[in-house]
Every structure is written in structure tokens, then in C-alpha cells.
Amino acid sequence: MKQPSAHQDNAREDAMNDAEGKAATAAPALPALGLVGMLRWAWTQLTSMRTALMLLLLLAIASVPGSIWPQRVQDAFAVQRWIEENPTVGPVLDFFQMFDVYSSFWFSAIYLLLFISLIGCIIPRARKHWQQMRSAPPRTPRKLERLPEYGAVELDDRGPAPAQALEEAAQVLRRRRYRVQVRPQDEDQRAGSIGAEKGYLREVGNIIFHVSLVGVLVCVALGAMFSYRGQKVIVEGEGFVNALAAYDNFFPGTWFSEDQLDAFSIQLNEFDRAFDRQVTPEGEAGPQWGNALDFTAWVTVQDGTDGVPEDTTLKVNAPLNMGGANLYLVGNGYAPVVTVRDAEGDVAFSGPVITRPDDGVYTSMMVIKAPDASPEQLGFQGLFLPTAVDAGEGMAVSADPEPFNPELHLNAYAGNLGLDEGIPQNVYVLETENLEVLNSREVDAGGIVLAPGEVHELPDGLGTVEFEEVLDYIAIDITYNPGELGILVFSLTATAGLITSLFLRRRRAWVVVEKTDSGRTLIRYGLLARGEDFRLRDENAAIRRDFEKIWPVSPPQTHITTDSHATTPTGKRG
């Protein structure tokens, strides 16, 4: 009946052994020599409850570094910056994969070992339970009074004979949903006994929980392999067609292939922002004035190459599903349309500039690079303020997220922008160290301040910059992960299994019916819980009540009450 490994409920096993008069399990024997013995020993160790517990705790500890240092899975740029700022520690931490914790070899090793341990536990346990479910309840222990719960009722002279009492006791247990086996005559030649057990589903739930966890892991792995995730910024009036080249950023899974990209397109027609404009009864701005309340992107989508174009909305918390992929509205901002002309009057740059909002009032960072300008390349860096107000000393800040008074506040630079070397650059960053400053608050020419429709002339006739109008843009994430449904289903079955295994009680009951010397019928019964059971005493009382209902129980019952106060067998450890 006992198996060497399989995450036994060790503490409770002792109680059963105690009642059966056996000694507690001896310490595991020393490993036998030889490879097979060693392997078997290692397997036993790995699948032991103690190892599983250690691996669990190790997993918790190993997860923590991921919240201390930036992770590439979230923000590769932040990791790069961290390493640059900490040139000594950074590379060392990187070597130990502290910036890729959840895909690191050590984190993977822990959870893979944990899952191997879990599988090595589940299989023998499931096999054992399958046998138990199809076999009779365990044999009646000799010393019922040593079970955690024990009781006895003596019937008076009107009571039924032992054989009939046995049958009636079996009825009582059946009504309490025990699986019952009546043993009319056991080996001790007592009148007879009953073995009963219920709550087999508890172990089933336990196994379902653990199997479901394996299912979740498998779905996570498969999902990650076939998944893709991409990002795209779309300016008002522009569109996006789902093709690899169209993405701004793209993160494919290991086994992703390009033909997984379903054909669909999306065009941004208009974008609406809504902000809190509630005023107090006194007519002043309310406490949440200017907070974002709603973002709605009015889009036209086409699912499939021959699909019908359809007008719809894309909102936060309400993704669009197209061809198996999901589209999410993850960001938005302003895209001022700027035209840069060089010294010859040729257009060196023209179009909407994606700005990066930095706060709740959309103070937005912007960079313009005009490498085609001649005689010198031109670069601009500064802020877009939707509602610019003077903050004194020539400084301006944004007072509101909506474009009531949009202004560009820029510095202008001339020189080699470094784009010709072919080294990939961040489009949102301008390296100004080796550039000549044309316009800035620090130089005599001053900074550039532009309202829509205004043109600024750069010093030395190097060109002009014109602020034409303000457009909106949205940032969308496009994700495809075929593992999601499986993960959800397995999480729910895991929860169902967890609830069953935690709150369903598995109980064994035995009844022994015998004739006393005075010719009366004595019914003794004992109860044993498998697993945690805090209400075993209540079950004892309930069974006793049922017996008293059908039988004339004789009054003196001093020996009946249980001597054990422990409500669980673990109480034996004292």
C-alpha cells in the first residue's frame, strides 16, 4: 500500500500506522550501490514532498530579482540604460541573466525540476488512487479506540441482534454517503464489522489541480512559441496593414513564421480624448479637473483581403479581434505636422512628428531629424505643449491635456546627425554633443517658439521650420497567442481541483458490532481522516445521533466519549 515517494501525507500516515499498531515509517534506506540504485535514489529524492517544498520556496525567491532590476521582456531600453549607468555591476548581473530572470537557465531549472517532481508524484498517486477507488475500504483496524475519533453505543435489551444491527449501521453509513463494505464475520470471530470510506473526490481534485498546473505550463510554452506581438503607431488619416515590414517593433515567438500573420488592415479616422471637466457648485474647476476619462479611436477595419471595410471603435479595455490577433489601444498622443526647409529652400523634412507624452497634461517630448538638409544636416529637439502657458523667465509649461494653445518649444542644431554610419538610432533621441547649437535658450538667438501656422527662420540662413497643424496618433499593440484559451481552461480546472481537495473531507469509518457478556449488542465505531479534517468530531457526533435515532441506546455511556481532543490526527505529535 505504501509507496516510497509520491508526496505522501507523511504526518497523517503516522496516525494510521499508530491505529494499525505499526511503527512509524523508518528513515529511507541508504542508496544501493550502482548506477540504477543511484538513479532510483535520486528519483525518490526528487519526487519527495520535502524536495517539492524546497523547489517551491526556491521558485518564490528566484522570482524576486525580476522586480528589482529592469527586465528585457518588459523594457529592453531600460535594461540597456541600467547597464550603461552601472558599468561594473551591470555586465556581471547580465552574465547571471538578472535582466532575463524568467527565461534564465536557473529560473527554468527550478520550475522544470519542480514540474518533473510534480509529475513524478502525480502519476504513482493517481495510479494508487485509481486502485483505491475500485477496491473495498481498508480492513477494520484491531484497536478502534486508538483512532482519532472513537465512539461506542450499547443497546438495551430491546435492541436488534448483532447481525441486524450490523446491517442497520451499514444503512446509516450509506445514507451519510460512505461507500460501505459489510464484513459479517471477521478473522477475530467477532460478530462482524463494517469498513467504509467517503470523499474519494478529494484526491481526484488534488490530482486535477496538479495535472492542470502542468497543462497551464504546457499551454504557456506552446503559446509563447507560436505567438507574436508587435507595436505600431498610427497617425490620424493613416493606416496599417498586417505585414512584418509595417510594424515599428515586432517580437516573434520561437516557431513563428511569417505566414501566421493574418491579412487585415486598420485605418485611424479620428481620435477622441475626454477629460474630467466637472466644476464645483462655486464654478471652480473640480478636484479631478483634466484627468483622462475616455479614449476612443474611430477606425475603419478590414478583416481578410476580401473583407468588407467596417467602421468601428477601438478603446482601452476593449480590444478588436481580427484574424485571430487582438488589437489593443495602448497609447496616444499628439503629432504636430512640421515642415523643415534647408538653406536652398528645399523641403528637408515634412510630416507629422510622433511626440511622447510625459505626464497627465501631455507635456510631450519631440525630436526631428532632417539629414537631407544642405549644406548642413539639421536636428530639432524640444517639447510640444498642448496648452502652453507662461511660467515666467521665458519658460512655458502645459496647463491642460487638450490643445487649447498648442506650441512647439524647440532647440535647433546643425551638423552631422550620425545617421549615415548605418548604426541604428533611437528615433526619439537626438545626440547633440557634436552638433552646433543654432537655437536654444542658452544662446543669443534664443529658443524656437511656434504656434500653428507660424514659421521660424534659422540663424545664418540655414533654413526654416514651420509648424502647420496638430494631428492625433494612437499606439496599438497587436498580439497573437494561441495558448491563451488553454491557459484559462486549465487555470479554472486547477481552481476547481484546488477547492475540491481543500474543502472536501476524506474519511474512513469502521464499525464493529459484538455481543457483550450480558447479552446486549455493543456497537463500536472509529473514524480516521485522510488529509486535513477539522470536523471529524462533528462527524462522530452525527453518526452517534443517527445511531441513537434508530436504536434504543442504554443510558450509562461514560466510556463512550472520546479521550482524544485532537480534531486531526496531527494532534498526536503533541
Binding site: 522570482s63 475616455d294 482601452v316 480590444p319 479554472l492
Partner: protein, 373 residues
């Protein structure tokens, strides 16, 4: 009604919101009174015990004639009591030095503690005021009132107090009264001073029915974990004390605790451990459903991925694993008792860390605290 293109949000009821804040203050004030009373009750343990002992001695005399009818009305189903002997002072290993003053199963056994009882009555009043404050805030804003750090803290405080009262209804948990009320007061103070947030609508990312489900389940499980934390801490102290009493030593921590009268009104370590386990099991299910599963569902709905190892997600996972370890430890030889209690305590410290430190200092997607810049 404010209408903007595609949305129309009902306007905030400012007057009701002001009532909400007023009742929040009233509740905090009454909680503080209850906390003080609980603390005085603890400090006066020795007097309580002396009175209890004389009561017990008197009952002892009449015991032979008539079995004591204990306060079964409050102690749950009476049959359990009927099957077991009356809780007379038993010959425990502590001998005559420590007669049974509290029930092993934390049932009420008629122990009179007037100060603690007054504190409980005050807590009931405070919870009523508190509940009104939370509900009216939700009504005033026309949304589920768990949308920022202030609302989260006062909501969690309400659930902690409510869970404690419900538990008190079934079991004699007066021994953790000062701890629970102290925590509730601390949460209310932290909310009002640390994260004062004027009433308003929530940002688009939080406008989802999942907010109510996800955050409420998290708050509920935290309310339960608070109780088990207190029980597990007391369990550690009590087991030290029990060992010191058994060895008849007055040295060290255990010896110090053995002399504390207050600890005599705390149930046995074994009983604390069992109840902590039962509550932890329920809380673990809520944690699985709330922060883990509905969190993943909402993250997929809102951010486009079900799990992304955001700092908050990391700590949610850590907490889940620690409590999973706790549940397993209970079935591992050599890990029951003190060690499993430590796991439960560590789990709760992780929760505190997750809400107090991660929310405030770690940048992440869960930065909805509404903190002033």
C-alpha cells in the same frame, strides 16, 4: 451627465462624497476607541484571569451536580459540545499552573471580558459607519469604490474589520482584537494621510467590470490573511511558552512569555495553527481566483498579454507560491508547526511589501495609486 463623443459619464455627487469623508472620519475615530479598549483589556489580563479562576472554582463545586451548559449559542453547532466533555480544567501538561481559560477550538466558553466586549460593540458601530462611507463613495462616483490607493486601503480596512467580526461571531477571537483593530486604524490613517485622493472617475484603463472582481477578491483574501498572520505570530510565541512551561524554565524568550498573563488568554499553539490553516486555505483560493486568474484575464483584456512579469505580477506570484508552500508544508513531516507558521508569516509580509512598497516605489503598470507627484 457629461457627454464626450462616444462616452457619457454620470457626474459626481459631491455632496454625498463629503458625507462619505465625514463617515470615514467617524469610523476611524470609533475604531481607535475600540483599539484602545482591546489594548486595555490585554493589559488587564491578570485581573481578568483572577476573576476567571474564582469563577471556575465556584463552577467546579456545582459541576458534579449538573454538567455546565456553556455558551453553546455562540459556539456553533451544539452536538460537538455534547459529544465532548465540558471544558473543565483538565490535567494538562502545564498542570495546575495553567488551567484552561480558553477553549481549544476557540469556542466561546463564557469568559467575561467586559472591556473587550465593549470594544467589539464599538467595532460593529464603526463598521456600519465605515460601510456607509465606502458605499456612498461608490454611489457618489457611480462606480466600484476601489479605484485608487486611498479607496483600496479604506476598502481593505473595511473588509479586514468585517471579516474579523464575522469570525468573532463564530469563534472567540478576542485575543487578536488589538492587532486587528490596530491594523485597521493604521490603514485608515495611511489612506487619509498618505494617499488622500479627491473623489472622481477612474482613468480609462480602470474602466472595466474586472476592477470590481479582481480587486475585491484580492481585498477579501488579504482580510483573511490578516487574521492568519496574527494567529501564526501568536502560535510561535505560544509554542515557545508552552515549551518553557513544560520544561519549567524561566529563561530566554519562552521563560519571559511564560510569565506573561496575556498569553494565558491565547489558545494553545496547536489550536492556533489549525485555525490559521483553515482560514489560509480559504484565503488561498481567493488569492488564486482574484489576483492570479482574474488578474491575468484582465491583463489580457487591457494590456494585451495575460502575464508580463510586471513588478506587481511578480509579487502576486511570489505570494501565491509562498502560500502554496505553506499548504504543502502542513503535509510534510518535519515542516508542520513552527516552520509552516513562518511560511504563513513570510507570505503576509510579502503582501504588505506588495501593497506598501511596490505600489509606491516600484514603477510598473499597476501605478494607479493616484499619488501626488
Amino acid at each position: 451627465m457629461l457627454t464626450f463623443g462616444a462616452v457619457s459619464l454620470p457626474s459626481i455627487n459631491v455632496e454625498l462624497a463629503e458625507y462619505s469623508e465625514l463617515f470615514m472620519m467617524i469610523a476611524a475615530f470609533i475604531y481607535t476607541l475600540a483599539f484602545i479598549l482591546f489594548t486595555i483589556d490585554n493589559a488587564q489580563s491578570s485581573r481578568t484571569i483572577r476573576r476567571l479562576e474564582t469563577d471556575l472554582a465556584r463552577e467546579q463545586e456545582s459541576l458534579t451536580a449538573q454538567p455546565m451548559k456553556v455558551a453553546t449559542a455562540a459556539a456553533g453547532p451544539p452536538p460537538a459540545e455534547a459529544a465532548s466533555p465540558p471544558p473543565e480544567p483538565k490535567d494538562t501538561h502545564n498542570g495546575a499552573r495553567d488551567p484552561e481559560l480558553v477553549d481549544e477550538d476557540m469556542a466561546y466558553i463564557g469568559t467575561r471580558r467586559p472591556l473587550a466586549n465593549t470594544a467589539i460593540a464599538l467595532t460593529v458601530v464603526a463598521v456600519a459607519a465605515h460601510a456607509f462611507a465606502v458605499v456612498s463613495r461608490g454611489l457618489a462616483a457611480h462606480r466600484w469604490p476601489l479605484g485608487n490607493m486611498y479607496e483600496f486601503l479604506v476598502g481593505a480596512a473595511l473588509i479586514v474589520a468585517l471579516v474579523y467580526l464575522l469570525a468573532l461571531h463564530r469563534r472567540d477571537l478576542r485575543f487578536i482584537g488589538s492587532f486587528v483593530l490596530g491594523l485597521v486604524v493604521a490603514m485608515m490613517v495611511a489612506a487619509t494621510i498618505g494617499f488622500p485622493t479627491p473623489i472622481g472617475h477612474v482613468q480609462p484603463a480602470l474602466q472595466s467590470p474586472w476592477l470590481a472582481i479582481h480587486v475585491s477578491l484580492a481585498v477579501l483574501s488579504i482580510g483573511l490573511f490578516v487574521l492568519t498572520f496574527a494567529m501564526n505570530v501568536l502560535q510561535l510565541l505560544q509554542s515557545r511558552r508552552e515549551r518553557a512551561l513544560a520544561e519549567n524554565t524561566a529563561q530566554g524568550w519562552g521563560g519571559f512569555l511564560a510569565g506573561r498573563q496575556f498569553m494565558r488568554l491565547v489558545p494553545k499553539a496547536f489550536s492556533l495553527e489549525n485555525w490559521a490553516y483553515r482560514i489560509n486555505a480559504v484565503a488561498f483560493v481567493f488569492w488564486t481566483l482574484g489576483p492570479m486568474i482574474t488578474g491575468a484575464v484582465w491583463a489580457r483584456e487591457s494590456w494585451g498579454r495575460y502575464w508580463g512579469w510586471d513588478t506587481k505580477e511578480v509579487w502576486t506570484f511570489v505570494i501565491w507560491v509562498v502560500y502554496a508552500g505553506y499548504l504543502h508544508a502542513r503535509a510534510t513531516r518535519g515542516w508542520t508547526g513552527t516552520r509552516s507558521a513562518w511560511l504563513s508569516i513570510i507570505g503576509f509580509l510579502c503582501i504588505i511589501f506588495n501593497y506598501a512598497v511596490v505600489n509606491v516605489y516600484f514603477p510598473g503598470l499597476h501605478s494607479y495609486a493616484g499619488l501626488p507627484d
